[in-house]
Amino acid sequence: MKISLRVLSVLMILSIVLVACGAKATQTTSGSNEKVDLTFWYWAESDAPGADAWMTESVEAYKTVNPNVTINIVPQSTDTLISAFQSAVTAKSGPDIASQWATGPVLGFVWQDAVAPISDYVKADEMKNWLNTNENTYNGKVWAAPMYLIGIEIMYNKDMFATAGVTPPANGRWTWDEFMAACEKIKTAGFTPFVVGDKDGYGGAWWFSHLGMQGLDSTDDLRQAIIGKADFTDPHYTGWYSALDDMVKKGYINEDVMSLDLSQGAQAFSQGKGAMAWGTDGMIKQALTDLGADKVGLMRTPSYGTGKMAETGNATQSISFFITKWSAHPQQAADFLAFLHTPDRLSSWYKHTGVIAADSRFDRSVVTDPVLKQMMEWETTGPQVWLENFLPGQIDSDGDLTAGQMIFSQSGTPADAAALWQRAAETWRNQHPDELTNWTNWQQ
């Protein structure tokens, strides 16, 4: 009888342990019966038209495999992407998964203790396939997941080039003098050489991320000016505004640059209103559709600077998805983000958007258009940096964006633009001692 009781006790203890283990497993796998509601503040459509439809399809597909998990997608607006999430951080309540632009914006929220490191929830075997994770790596952890890669290069109208007698660069890249000479020819032929929109300030910011980067040796070089160990008025940082100013003064930029926002600038190219324009993968795809596949060519930004970053590419994951610190279901959120990287989802992503996925498992053979194929090669070859992501938001807004508007609207000189950067940096340093400390300690 005593033995029976002992056996019974051991069996009961074993049962409890097994049930406990089972419960643990239930909590950490999405395939469990636990009902889980996840809210995802999602942004991608502006970068990659078709992204919203893809996400709707992905949520449905996930629901089929994990009927207990409900993903509520809340599309976010570009204008309020940062401010809306900042409100959530202040309230310490909001979505389980959120979207932010990579690097500076993501890390800004990491430093506010609002983000859970995704590398704590996704296996290293899975994450090794994700591209550009370095953009959101800090203190040895990856804080956000990439979904796609976009680069920004110059698309050109082949017919306008031919009419103006301009030959595209043989190696895909002009020197600055060759570029300016081509602009002059195009203008003489009666076309607008370069169309861009800067009503929202981002047109100027894109010039910074291209020409500004070419003068720098590293992102840390930029950081020195941000934290006050170098001066933005040094031509090393802002001397390139003279080149942009020269373009505007010579009439190489569309007159309505300040009436158009960035996307409208790209649309103007697609409508045949200019010979050249910046284009992301999505914009290039749209131009190929609007103007004709044989009418659009692609080239890299002309060589301007002599810094060590002059040859660095500019591809970025753009938006990053991350798990919020307050999420009650971080593991399930991570599982869903990992699901978005399954081969079926990666393939579907490209079908919907025409933008390449940020994953080494992405089947590159599906990219058949020669222009988009060229773009993919540039985006995945060599080091890639989108410099604007390495600015604190306030300096980007009150320095970068505003200085570009100053030049495009001709309301100030390149020296004034440089002074604006310096003033924005000084104001930020005075007003944000906490952020200054984080940027000072950030080893890039």
Binding site: I82, S83, S397, Q405
Partner: protein, 300 residues
């Protein structure tokens, strides 16, 4: 006897506190809705995010705000917008008087003029973005009429952006002014106006010397309301039409507060800016309350 005395005393005490009990719910509501946020904003304006956490830093945020050139530019832009208040008032008065004279179809005109005031500001803003672009409808019409020299980048040049914003604000706010003035005009005693006409007063004399003096209370009220609007109710116009640009040419205080609060992650600075704006606006609100009292007395 003792019972009667006690109940009388209780009755007197209750009568004394009775009004306060009636007032209590509303008072508590007002304190919660208005006073608490104001106190909290003032408290936040004394805080700063430091590397070691949130610290009380006294009036440092105010010093930083006053050192920031963008603050002064934003305040200056609000000041420039105030210049549109006299134009708005005169236009509203003129239109209201014309409608009061019962021009043919005045009821339709009244509806048309009031309609923009009913529309949401972002709707009005986005419409004018398309109208005022360099290649927008207005410039296209000007070019078509051979007046290309008048075509401007209305929202894209630092010279024209504030006047353009003013025009849009006037366009929308005029509906409110016209209806307000018209309502007051309708309540005027017709005999006085008829007497002026019998005495030989022409259109202008009648309205300048007879109508306007009787509208003085409502005009003053409207002016103060619009002064407050130009100081602290123009965010939606700026946000939808210009984003504060080009540069800082159309940045106003509200927009700058919003940027600091939500885009720049600096609630302390945003709160300090809000307190400064609150102080300026409070002066105008006190003025408005005094004028409103006078207007109401006049109406009675």
């Amino acid at each position: 006897m003792l019972y009667k005395k006690m109940s009388t005393r209780t009755g007197i005490t209750f009568r004394k506190i009775e009004p306060f009990l009636y007032l209590a719910p509303a008072t508590i509501l007002i304190v919660l809705i208005f006073l608490y946020p104001i106190i909290d904003i003032i408290r936040t304006s004394l805080l700063q995010n430091n590397p070691n956490g949130i610290k009380t830093i006294g009036i440092t945020n105010y010093r930083l705000v006053f050192q920031d050139p963008v603050f002064w530019q934003a305040l200056g832009n609000n000041g420039k917008l105030l210049l549109s208040v006299p134009i708005l008032t005169v236009l509203s008065l003129m239109v209201a008087i014309l409608l009061f004279e019962h021009v043919r179809g005045w009821v339709v005109y009244r509806g048309i003029i009031f309609m923009p005031y009913v529309l949401a500001i972002p709707v009005v803003g986005m419409t004018f973005v398309y109208l005022l672009g360099l290649n927008g409808i207005i410039n296209t019409l000007l070019r078509g009429a051979g007046l290309a020299f008048l075509a401007q980048d209305w929202l894209g040049s630092i010279k024209w952006v504030l006047p353009s914003l003013s025009v849009v604000i006037i366009y929308r706010e005029m509906g409110f002014g016209v209806v307000l003035f018209l309502a007051r005009l309708m309540s005027l005693e017709k005999e006085i106006l008829e007497a002026a006409e019998i005495d030989g007063a022409n259109f202008w004399q009648k309205h300048i010397y007879v109508t306007l003096p009787q509208l003085s209370g409502v005009i003053e009220f409207f002016i103060v309301v619009e002064l407050i609007t130009m100081l602290s109710w123009v965010f939606a116009y700026v946000f939808t039409m210009t984003g504060g640009g080009p540069g800082f040419a159309s940045t106003v205080m509200e927009f700058y507060i919003w940027k600091h609060a939500f885009a720049f992650r600096s609630p302390g600075i945003a709160s300090a800016l809000a307190v400064v704006l609150l102080m300026v606006t409070t002066v105008l609100i006190i003025l408005q309350l005094r004028l409103r009292r006078r207007f109401l007395d006049e109406s009675v």
